[in-house]
């Protein structure tokens, strides 16, 4: 089963948008929620580190997805 180039690029754009913009937005909100959570400092710090890892991962995913997008755009095939 194949997927049209345009559709694939649309899916990649959505994925890039999520990784590049949405995850930092969610992370920012969740970090504030941690402030009010009542968890002790150690647990909070642990979760803050996890959220930072998530942000870094999102950054890495954006790069991978963007490279993939570029590759597909340059490819002459219309169906993948």
């Amino acid at each position: 089963m194949g997927v049209a180039k345009k559709e694939l690029l649309g899916m990649l754009n959505s994925a890039i948008e999520l990784e590049e913009w949405a995850i930092p937005i969610y992370s920012r909100h969740l970090k504030t929620a941690l402030f009010w959570s009542g968890l002790d400092a150690v647990e909070r710090e642990g979760m803050r580190i996890q959220l930072s890892v998530l942000s870094q991962e999102a950054h890495r995913h954006t790069k991978v997805l963007s490279r993939m997008k570029k590759k597909i755009e340059e490819d002459k095939r219309h169906v993948f």
Partner: protein, 526 residues
Amino acid sequence: MFTALIRKLRVLSIVAGIFICFYFIARVVVFSYSDYSRLDKLFGLFLLASEFYILVHAFGFMLNIFTLSSWRGKPRLGVSTPGREPSVAIVMAARHEPKEVLEGTLIVLHNVDYTNKSIYFLDDSSEQANKDMDDELARAHGIKMFRREQRHGAKAGIVNDFLLGMKEKYIAIFDADQNPMPDFLKEVIPILEGDDKLAFVQTPQFYSNIGESPVAKASAMQQAIFYESICEGKNATGSIFCCGTNVVFRREALQEVGGFAEDFITEDFATSVNLHTKGWRSWYHNHVVAFGTGPETLPAYFSQQARWAGGTISVFRKLLAALYDNPSTLSPGQWWEYMLAGTYYFVGWAFFFLMICPIAFLIFNIPSFFLYPQIYLFTYLPYFCLTLLVFFGTMRERHYNFRQIYSGLILGSLCFPLLMRAALYGLFGRRMKFVVTAKGRSEVLPLADLWPYLVMIALNAVAIGFGLMRIRQNPSAISVNMFWAGYHLFILWNIFYFNQLPVLGREEKAKWAVKPAAVPAQDRGN
């Protein structure tokens, strides 16, 4: 431990409620039979009215706490067949909002995890530059744009115009600065599907910009008090009202009441009254599924409070008329909760009279508090201590500490000049606008606009001075009044703490800030 705390709070809320009644009865009886001059009685009456107001609201809060610690109602959930979920229109109404705010919200709306959704940008901008920017954003994020020909009724008006052509079963409404989490609709829609008479489900507002300024942090705390205790209590009596955003309505219900009530600034509150009087129900889903930003500066905060106060009090007038005309339209529990909500913004007047009475006594020797010391000790102190204990205990249970809660209370008290004006405007059916006089520097209030605080600070300071000079005449009464004058002075002084630019401290701000991943252009493949 949690269960034990809940049990304690339940018992304490009952005892506190009883002492509230005792204290009020004692005050009324002694006031009625005391032999004072007319002027003294006038001040006494002001103080008694203010105390009555506070006691009624404290009693309402105790009832809320008692209810939420005893009632664990759960909504019926409707199950939809995968792929055949009911249709939902997600709408974001905005007018002249900054690009970065709109873009963030459009991205998260796009990311809401629900198959049968359509996203609409209800653009009410009148400036061409804003319209062009909004068009570009909607195009870039694949969002449908909706505009109207003629402006009427602000946000309520554009939502009503949208409703006219809307096909979806439900409408989820968000302000431009509110960001739902991906599971928002998956949590809320099953609740609506489980009850055909449920008009809307309201979810909490949670401010996540607390690192921006003391105002942002304190107003977030006020939201927490409202959404985490009061709303839950209102839910038990079926009187939770819509708070304007992070809410999902059943289209059929809105259409039956003729859409949002455009005549009121707080159209959400007025529409809820309309829905409840028509027999529709509402539900409060006490789970944070959307995050937003609160006011960061005093002008922004005061402007928000002026809007809410004026709007709510104008709806209160309507409520009084409805109660007189047809008291059976709402249940007693609903009337009680609506009356509490409708009168909440009279707190400005109550606070003002509470401040004025010690000053009048210390400077002009006008007594206003008539109660024998023994009765005071046996009624006031238990009422005062127990209500504080229940209030702080409830908030403590939700992991808030004393300082955080107190900052929210102080910020609320500082609204008194504004709320006094808003109450009068609301009562006389006029719309009040909060305007900052200084141009070009609207992030802080100029000293000239702080005159009510400066006057009250001066009066309290002078009153304390008079008290010190006269303390030998009547040590106990003068000491008590000096204590209250000092306490009010402390509250008023906080205006200078809150009236600062929105940077709480660079270190704290940096701790909370998350920058979007910076990706070099060549990596994006652009």
